[in-house]
Symmetry: C2
Subunit: 83 residues, 2 copies
């Protein structure tokens, strides 16, 4: 699964390297029609769902939203606190 | 963002090509300690969250769970129905 080599690309080389990480990528490929832009709202609820399973500090979450052509990609990187 | 070239890899070349698609990738990098395996439960709730924003038919969802070393990757592909 070559996709694995792209995950956690933004991994810092510092002491936090041994931390557990979670990365969520949501990609939406539109076929031209408008329709609601639900990625921002979806992302907010995802963080809530994740927080049910593991402690997540808001400042340990990095988010990026990229648009290229008809593709929108929301990339959420979370450094999980030590258990 | 080279990651984009990896998204929607499993896109069929058939009539459904013009459909809207959603891909969710959840990757968890563990640092050896066990800790709860929450990806399966997380994935179930994600589908529920997505269904709030757009109609999703259960049989339009393809899921794969890959493990490599300390990396677990849940890959959810959803073909969205015509609006």
């Amino acid at each position: 699964m070559a996709l694995l080599s792209f995950l956690f690309q933004s991994k810092p080389k510092t002491a936090t390297a041994a931390k557990e990480r979670l990365q969520i990528i949501i990609a939406r490929e539109r076929n031209g029609r408008t329709g609601p832009d639900f990625l921002p709202a979806l992302h907010k609820e995802l963080i809530e769902v994740i927080s049910k399973y593991t402690k997540v500090n808001a400042d340990d979450i990095k988010i990026s939203l990229d648009r290229q052509g008809n593709l929108e990609v929301l990339d959420v990187n979370v450094v999980l606190p030590d258990a």
